[in-house]
Symmetry: C2
Subunit: 327 residues, 2 copies
Amino acid sequence: MIERRFDPTTREWRTFATHRQDRTFLPAADHCPLCPTRDPSSPGEVPASSYDLVVFENRFPALVADPPTPPLPSTPLYPVEPARGATEVVLYSDDHDASLAQLGTDHIRRLVDVWADRYRVLGSRDEVAYVFVFENRGEVIGVTLEHPHGQVYAYPEIPPRPRAELEAGMAHLRRHGTCVFCDVVARERADGLRLVTQNDAFLAFVPFAARFPYEVHLIAHRHATSLLDLTDPERHALAELLETVLRGFDALFGFPLPYVMSMHQAPTDDGPWLEVSHLHLEFTPVHRTATKLKYLAGSEIGAGAFINDMTPEASAGRLRAAVLGAR
Amino acid sequence: MIERRFDPTTREWRTFATHRQDRTFLPAADHCPLCPTRDPSSPGEVPASSYDLVVFENRFPALVADPPTPPLPSTPLYPVEPARGATEVVLYSDDHDASLAQLGTDHIRRLVDVWADRYRVLGSRDEVAYVFVFENRGEVIGVTLEHPHGQVYAYPEIPPRPRAELEAGMAHLRRHGTCVFCDVVARERADGLRLVTQNDAFLAFVPFAARFPYEVHLIAHRHATSLLDLTDPERHALAELLETVLRGFDALFGFPLPYVMSMHQAPTDDGPWLEVSHLHLEFTPVHRTATKLKYLAGSEIGAGAFINDMTPEASAGRLRAAVLGAR
């Protein structure tokens, strides 16, 4: 069963995909389905003996191009829809033990191009309203396959968190006549207090009201609405800054820092969103110290209210030092 | 440092409390600060040799009645406020190893009275807009003290998730003239498909568009806006149903099921909320099987879009069986 259901008490769509209950769960490294196929008699997901970057549809998809009709009827109180969209896997490297930070700027630049391509291709589909590039990294995040990879989900509507951002952006635009992210960029560059690192086109900083202790946002200096809106040198600058930040993350506590990476770009439907869509990547690591995690519990899950044990200024200082040390 | 900061990109308030970084973390059972004080030379939080139920202010508070002035200036882009409000701890029992389910209906009934009392007392404070009763249970939820306890947070504004519910309720009210929760109650009682258990005054069911595999909501049959709106028999009925559900949870996989419990009641400021406030308790256990957890990762944290591997109808069936078996 795969279908989407609407929650009338929050006005959010939720996705149900029961076959995912049986998805591959932390296989041994020599049975990794994302590694290249070295023995043709037991092929993995990629039928090649080596590869650079690979994209394919998730074998346990939550959203698909041609979904089945849901068994339950849709009613006014409880709307039901087929699970239209896409869930893709992006393999970063054929090296099972690689980490994105170590693959080099040129490799990361090719990954940026792959992301831009998937945004374009999936976003051009009629039923897709929002393309969401993300990465779950580390077992504590719930990763079920260790091989370095990210994902791309294409949703049939703008999901709740990007929607909240776009609506906040609209309110700010009406009141001040500016993009709120452009204002944030100007303020962070002027203040410097929460800056982690920057180059000609991108900025990495800890947000003023960060949810997680070591949350870092990467954002374009100028009002670029998506990866497709970037020039060639800007794509390179993004790859370069990504590499710097990722090396800093891994140097922070001396181990590959688990995180969720979420990319927010313009919706791909025809809404009035371009003025308030400002490309940024949100890294939300869950560690609050080398040995303690920031859990989402009552205040976050039940009330949506984040409590953070660290000031963004203190986190930014530690991250700046980690970035410098990793150079 | 303790202060509140506004995120202009989502219009959410976040709370910063740096002293919480050093809070007591999983002490050995014989050093539990929540146990009664048996040796007066090393007193715990409760200066008594035994107790029934106890409420006190969190020793590592995130919100307080008389907060310090924040060091950073408040600006139009980045508003800052003192961390006004309250964060209280509710000890369920003086028995370190007790679980709420085993304490008996009368004990749970007294806990319901304590919750109602804290809602009344904290809600009557001028600076408090929303009183949030919750419980984090189990180490996988991030609990730092094992002793059975819940918490009450009093926020100076309506936090994001209750606000989303109230706004969805307002939209439903304008369109249909009814409380959306009243409509949900009627539908769940008629359908029976997602029902876990019910009595004269309360209903426990798996929501139609549940976020978590074994999510269960307890809700009043009638439009009660808060615990204070309940009659005496209704408070008893809530205690009884809570006991039944908690026993079912513990029977489901044969171990005390970790969960977040979140209670949603009417805001305590003067907004137009009573018509759309319908008392309910949301239990969100994180297990999707006896050995696997539902993690919040990219789709949930970055997009706010929940993917659930189980149908609510299947979960409800298993929970009904667990509840019956635990009787």
